[in-house]
Amino acid sequence: MPKKVVSGNYAAAYAAKHARVEVVAAYPITPQTSIIEKIAEFIANGEAEIQYVPVESEHSAMAACIGAAATGARAFTATSAQGLALMHEMLHWASGARLPVVMVDVNRAMAPPWSVWDDQTDSLSQRDTGWMQFYAENNQEVYDGVLMAFKIAETVNLPAMIVESAFILSHTYDIVDMPPQEEIDEFLPPRKPLYTLTDFDNPIAVGALGTPADYYEFRYKIEKAMEEARKVIKEVGKEFGERFGRDYSQMIELYKTDDAEFIFMGMGSLMGTVKEAVDLLRKEGYKVGAAKVRWFRPFPKKELYELAKNVEGIAVLDRNFSFGQEGILFNEAKGVLYNTDAHPIMKNYIVGLGGRDFTVSDIKIIAKNMKEIIEKGKLDREIEWYHLKR
């Protein structure tokens, strides 16, 4: 299989090209920029036939992708932080109009103060927009994620976001395995749109006023599509594994959780560090595992329950925070387990905001803390701002 040493951003650009996207509309923002530059380069070199619309803002980038997708094209964009926030209104438009736009978001902290470093609050703030969200641990997952996202999005007619972390992935080079184009084409055939604006004998109107008599049902159908997505994600993830050797059928990737007393749960690139820490902790006698939440939307409720019922504690690592409440993944996970018989002790560690380093030794400290809590059977505190300078 052809392998390339690429940055996370280049992995995203290659994936878009290999997915044979037809329209790219995008606006630069650090650290996303090299994705759209690479795509422009592909076009300039005649390596890809893509209509490239260098728009004047992210809001317009998403609007243009929406227009393109409604016209039947496979549309792609990428952004980060403030850019994603500016797009917010249009994210609702994409899901509401049931358009399978795919976007890469490079997780970056929101300003002020200005920060270009890793933080998940930008993408998690888009939680309720009706977009599917996949968090990549490494460059390979960025690449694979984009290819799968198109297939899933076009099956259920909802947009999808692939999330990679600023610099840790976006600008770090790693080996990425890219299957031959013919095999990708087999996996991802041309898009068959739900509707297009190009049947001129049978015109349609999309996005008209929905009165109280109908609006409700439109929302319900989005939720039905999200439900369907759970199934489709697993099927596509399995198919991907069969074709290309990397299985994504699990919405939560489990690492040494079978006999684990407690586990670390989180999303994105920090889970690579966690897995390494798990190996070291196991050598020191800790019975620990890692649960990497791949898909945040739709949220893997059943998988979480299955996992939670067999462990005594879960340390939820959130590189994000919902002010006035708690870490977002923690909040979601607790909510899922409330009406079940699974009640592990759960503690929320807020880590790595704005690119603060989060290392194996940090995880070791957290492990020690978790062990104490489990032994006492009582939380010291529910939320811990782990790195806080006191």
Binding site: A63, T198, P203, V206, L209
Partner: protein, 311 residues
């Protein structure tokens, strides 16, 4: 009534009807009439994008549509961007865009969605050179949200957020000249038009279809509801706006200006004739009217000069 083919051929306005009865515009709505002409000119091979504005409501709620062409309702400030995306997708899919046998991509937005919140996307669309047409129907306020000022609202006009009151608070800023901003982009074709001059409007629509690249039309479209004017006076008002030179008809084509007034030699009528039919100007004092009159004539002289120099 069936009109014979030879008669149809002689009609200067296409016979074809693609905007149907049952739409939900107010009586005498200039925008509704304008939309009807657009669909007459372009027929069904059109993709319309309409942002938040009266027209998105006029077109009808789901599952109905009074418009017999493909229509994408979009967010308020995105008309320029969404038609850019539609055009790009048509090209990616191998469709012919613009030209007589091509697909016409038309953005149809109000003055608020164009001159204010949508100005950035409009500028992007114009500057990038997409093959599509942007029509700003100008009813001089935000009507859909209940008659608030836009930057296209004229001096002296009452609106609900520039109301007349004890301190005589009405709009004290002159109408923004959106078309000048558009022309500054040096696009191939831009024009003003009026629902009172449908032959001229249709001719301009046809021209916009033929000329590659982005084109822009600012259509004067009276709104009896917002202007506090009788519903049967919309055409007359639109005509008076032209005759008073308040809203002159002209074209800009590849650097050249051309004024298309029905009676070019005639001096403009006094602005009062346009004002007095509308309740929205009732708070204006004599001095206010004078200020507006002077502004109108100054702008008119400027336009004439442009036509002279760049004619």
């Amino acid at each position: 009534m069936e009109i014979p083919e030879n008669v149809k051929k002689r009609l200067s306005i296409p016979f074809e009807e693609n905007f149907f009865a049952g739409h939900t515009a107010c009586q005498g709505c200039g925008a509704a009439l304008g939309l009807r002409y657009v669909l007459k000119a372009y027929g069904k091979k059109t993709i319309l994008a309409i942002p938040a504005c009266c027209s998105t409501i006029i077109a009808g709620p789901w599952p109905y549509s009074a418009i017999n062409a493909n229509l994408f309702h979009t967010a308020f400030e995105t008309t320029g961007a969404v038609i850019s995306g539609i055009e790009a997708a048509l090209k990616a899919k191998g469709y012919k865009v613009k030209g007589e046998d091509g697909v016409m991509v038309v953005g149809w937005a109000g003055d608020g969605g164009t001159a204010d919140i949508g100005l950035q996307a409009l500028s992007g669309f114009l500057e990038r050179g997409h093959d599509a047409l942007y029509i700003m129907y100008d009813n001089e306020a935000y009507m859909n949200t209940g008659i608030q000022r836009s930057s296209s609202t004229p001096y002296g006009a009452w609106t609900t957020n520039t109301p007349g009151g004890k301190k005589h608070f009405v709009e004290k800023r002159h109408k923004k000249k959106v078309i000048d901003i558009v022309i500054a982009h040096k696009i191939p074709y831009a024009a003003t038009a009026s629902i009172a001059f449908p032959e001229d409007f249709i001719r301009k629509l046809k021209k916009a279809q033929k000329i590659p690249g982005p084109s822009f039309i600012q259509l004067f479209a009276p709104c009896p509801t917002g202007w506090r004017s009788p519903t049967d006076k919309s055409i007359e008002l639109a005509r008076l706006a032209v005759q008073t030179a308040y809203f002159p008809l002209f074209e800009y084509e590849n650097g050249k200006y051309k004024i298309n007034m029905p009676n070019p030699k005639k001096e403009p009528k006094p602005i009062e004739e346009f004002l007095k039919l509308q309740g929205r100007f009732k708070y204006m004092t004599k001095e206010d009217i004078q200020i507006l009159q002077e502004w109108v004539l100054k702008e008119w002289e400027e336009l004439k000069k442009k036509a002279e120099i760049f004619g």
